[in-house]
Symmetry: C2
Subunit: 192 residues, 2 copies
Amino acid sequence: MSVQERKERERASRERLIVATARELAEQQGWDAVTTRRLAERIEYSQPVLYSHFRGKREIIGAVALEGASEMAAALRAATTGADGPRTRVTALARTYLDFAERNPAVYDAMFQLDGGLAFAAEDTPEPLKDGFAALLESLGEVAGDGVHPGLFTEVFWAALHGLATLTRAGRLPPPEAEQRLELLVDRLAVL
Amino acid sequence: MSVQERKERERASRERLIVATARELAEQQGWDAVTTRRLAERIEYSQPVLYSHFRGKREIIGAVALEGASEMAAALRAATTGADGPRTRVTALARTYLDFAERNPAVYDAMFQLDGGLAFAAEDTPEPLKDGFAALLESLGEVAGDGVHPGLFTEVFWAALHGLATLTRAGRLPPPEAEQRLELLVDRLAVL
DNA sequence: TCGTCTGTCTAGCGGTGCTAGGATCGAATC
DNA sequence: GATTCGATCCTAGCACCGCTAGACAGACGA
């Protein structure tokens, strides 16, 4: 019995190693550099081992995305719990969101740009993703304004943040004015 | 002399065929299905012919993106010239933008999601891209509000539209409420 | 009519995600 | 302690990718 438990532990440990290595490699050299061969080499196993843990590369990306969603949710909550007053909270939330996207571009890509085979806005949406949206909703719901559904408002605000994050990182928006854009967004969208 | 002109005409015609075919194939089966082999087969030439027109697949994507940018700029202008009153214009603009993204997903991807090797927000930005932004600026500049730089406001509004477009298409936002999100965005962001 | 030269194709390179099948090693049994 | 057996892992290879070198043919100018 103990033998089997040890094997399961080792297996789980190796799975974490795969996800962590994929993430590391993606942050260092971009997702294009994350090939099954390179990934296998880094974890010092052969390629087929990856397929005993994940159905394919897509699922590995999905695993990184889930990890990222948990971290982002935690970061958003940490940034808003300290702040008092709706305006301070929303600004902190937006700044933290954009900051996360900028500091973890590969993870952000896994979450929203690449196909990780994850369900969204559906019943079988994984918990970390639902929780990420919930973290947004907690701070944004209170500034939705009268007669506006908090969920809908959160969707719009989130979309705006997502647009800023992706367009900035793709070089479509000049970085120096990022802060001004953020403040304009908060001023206009949120009802304070 | 005339012979050379004819050849240039034929060459230009073939180049248009390549771009149109790539676009068609991408809209039908997604960009993943646009391989150089399949593309070559569809235009009834061999693979290397593609490389006598474009440096690589990236440039073909870029060509589709430029075509799309021109069309989008035209669509935005057409939608706003008829409308009178800032509010009507901005709503029409936003609706047209989201509509274009929804109806031409592959082209929209070529413009903003994929790497077409195009420069943005720089001196050597191709004319159609600048013109697309200009089309947004024309209608959005008038609702930026006092003390807010029209360019900055346009960037924020554009980012929000981009976020709505991409998240909706990726299944991150439920389509039925798309219209409500659009109206909320216009109501809040634009100073009318 | 004859070279030349442009234009096109065949064939192939190194890489990708993924998998079939054989080898190996450890655990359980006699 | 020897032996069987099953899980685990690796080697080798599939079809496909973007891209290119070099052979070839056909149209051109002399």
